[in-house]
């Protein structure tokens, strides 16, 4: 109902028509999707090692302390979880299929392209590849977990409040590098197939670029480690339990062990539901005191 992008309408109509057997996808578009999936598999499997650190559009929006570790203490990085590759491939497949849907729905867009962002001041260019340009704006396609879809990809403000993967900077970087306006994210829920558009049209581009410059300089000047986050009190129904946990940003960081050597991954101490308790990164338990 809340169309954030006018192209959502032909997509919704196409999907509904397809479920009724009233829509077709051309062979040419299917081949295009297959070719995109093939390129994705090649990138994931045959793209060489992915560990060498450099600032890219896809990481420059991450926490400075995480990037500092990436650059200076790569040996401390947690090994990638076994689902990492599968998630990356799912992301590529979702993007390829989504573009096939756009084409079938007759939505015109320019396909992905490599771009270089000049942050000025003699800084080296930041490189990356945007997903698509629609109606003159750069959009990114994201495949999201159910949690991320419902809790984070709500609107720009919610995403900006906690953006451990640096999605806002990534999008602003792509758009600025391409000399186009910022669009938003086409988000597909991996759990149930729901999809939507989250607009970032009103993002403060200059403020985001300034933050990117700050991150660049911090790393380029080899400044000492400056932790950006601290642990937070665990709450249950707005009441503090007395335990402390890693914040969201640290939970997703691959260097949390370097910063928090004594943290423990334990089943939630406060969960009272009937399902398996979620795993929580505890830094301090009430009994520690």
């Amino acid at each position: 109902m809340d169309f954030a992008h006018a192209a959502e309408l032909p997509i919704k109509i196409l999907m509904r028509d397809a479920t009724l057997g009233q829509a077709e996808m051309s062979e040419a578009i299917i081949e295009n999707v297959a070719s995109d999936v093939s390129a994705g598999l090649n990138k994931q499997f045959n793209g060489g090692p992915r560990d060498k650190f450099r600032l890219r559009m896809s990481n420059i929006g991450r926490a400075k302390c995480q990037l500092w570790h990436e650059k200076n203490m790569p040996e401390e990085k947690e090994p990638m979880p076994e689902q990492f590759m599968m998630n990356m491939m799912l992301g590529d497949i979702v993007e390829a299929v989504f573009k096939g849907i756009l084409r079938t729905a007759g939505v015109e867009f320019q396909d992905n392209e490599y771009v270089s962002l000049d942050l000025g001041g003699g800084r080296r260019p930041i490189k990356g590849e945007y997903d698509l340009v629609m109606a003159g704006r750069v959009d990114d396609v994201k495949s999201a977990s159910d949690y991320s879809y419902t809790k984070k990809f709500v609107d720009l403000e919610t995403l900006q409040a906690s953006d451990p993967f640096g999605y806002v900077a990534q999008l602003v970087g792509y758009a600025t590098a391409a000399g186009k306006k910022v669009g938003g994210w086409w988000v597909v829920n991996k759990a149930n197939g729901h999809h939507k558009y989250v607009s970032a049209k009103h993002v403060d581009v200059e403020a985001v670029l300034d933050k990117m410059r700050e991150t660049y300089d911090y790393l380029d000047n080899d400044e000492p480690l400056e932790r950006q986050y601290t642990d937070i009190p665990e709450t249950y129904r707005k009441k503090e339990s007395g335990n402390r946990t890693l914040c969201r940003e640290c939970s997703f960081c691959s260097f949390k062990k370097a910063c928090w050597p004594d943290y423990q991954e334990l089943p939630s101490k406060t969960y009272q539901g009937k399902l398996t308790p979620p795993t929580v990164h505890y830094t301090k338990l009430k009994t520690d005191a």
């Binding site: 809340d2 169309f3 192209a7 309408l9 009724l20 015109e108």
Partner: protein
């Protein structure tokens, strides 16, 4: 197979109609946004004095409480006791009437009222605290006043077809037979509930809101002071087939929302105060450092 659930045109044609095909003008610069008519509910009946059969002067209700009024971009207002709408988009924003400047302050329009929304005062959420208030009595009076004055506003965008149309004198007006693009602010909680219930019904029919009409009537309520006010009563209308123009209308509404948000953001930027006030002593120290002679 029933075609009530399918479009009457190919999705590729829909995209073209919306300005997303290669042939369409991608700039969409000529947004119809600023020309939208504004739909509202009449909250005070319009009375007219007239002489009755006995020669006595009497007041007659010309436009009743709860009727709908539509004001176009040139300021022409017409009235109707009933309205039938199709909704194309809805957003939410915080609004606050500024009686000193006779203007409405507002935040950007968002799909949900969460987070810190920039506003036309250069603040967030019009100064309304975003944290959960555990103890209302512990809140200071100034903050209470802000919370009371800032309204949760649902902004509707759609097409309206009015019933019998009159002017403010009750005289019938012609030229309102077709659907007209409109925007409408809804602040009353009962009105919002009524509308949400109907939208839920439409979605449960596996239809998009633009594929079903909603009829609008009114409930008359009385405040403890004795003053009366009206709330919106939304009811399910009939199924409606989409027409090619509907898709361009979606684009126009999205453009209108962007236009409105860009205005709010430009006001916010021009009025934004620094987050941290610089202590004059600190400022003085900075200046002195710069004045060190070499």
């Amino acid at each position: 197979m029933s075609n009530e659930l399918s479009t009457t045109m190919a999705s590729a044609d829909l995209a073209a109609a919306m300005g997303f095909s290669a042939d369409a003008d991608m700039s969409m610069g000529s947004s119809s946004g600023p020309n939208l008519s504004r739909l509202a509910q009449v909250q005070a009946p319009i009375m007219k004095e007239q002489v009755d059969e006995d020669g006595e002067l009497e007041e007659k209700v010309v436009v009743p409480l709860g009727a709908y009024k539509l004001t176009d971009s040139e300021g022409t207002t017409v009235y109707s006791r009933s309205a039938t709408i199709r909704l194309f988009a809805q957003r939410q924003q915080w609004t606050q009437w500024d009686s000193d400047n006779n203007a409405m302050n507002k935040t950007v329009m968002a799909t949900v009222l969460k987070g810190d929304l920039k506003d036309t005062k250069g603040t967030f959420n019009l100064g309304r605290p975003s944290a959960y208030i555990k103890d209302w009595d512990a809140v200071d009076e100034d903050t209470k006043a802000v919370i009371r004055s800032v309204k949760n506003t649902k902004v509707l965008f759609g097409k309206v077809k009015l019933g019998k149309v009159t002017d403010e004198n009750g005289v019938a007006v012609k030229g309102y037979d077709s659907e007209i693009d409109f925007t409408m602010d809804v602040k009353n909680a009962d009105s919002k509930r009524s509308l949400d219930a109907v939208l839920k019904d439409i979605v449960s029919k596996k239809l998009l809101p633009i594929e079903h009409t909603i009829t609008l009537a009114a409930n008359k309520e009385t405040l403890p002071t004795g003053n009366k006010y009206a709330t919106m009563v939304a009811n399910l209308g009939t199924k409606a087939k989409m027409v090619p123009e509907d898709h361009a209308t979606v684009q126009a509404f999205v453009d209108y929302i962007d236009y409105g948000n860009e205005y709010v953001l430009s006001k916010w930027k021009s009025l934004r105060k620094p987050d941290v006030a610089i202590d004059p002593a600190t400022l003085d120290a900075i200046v002195q450092v710069e004045e060190i002679p070499f």
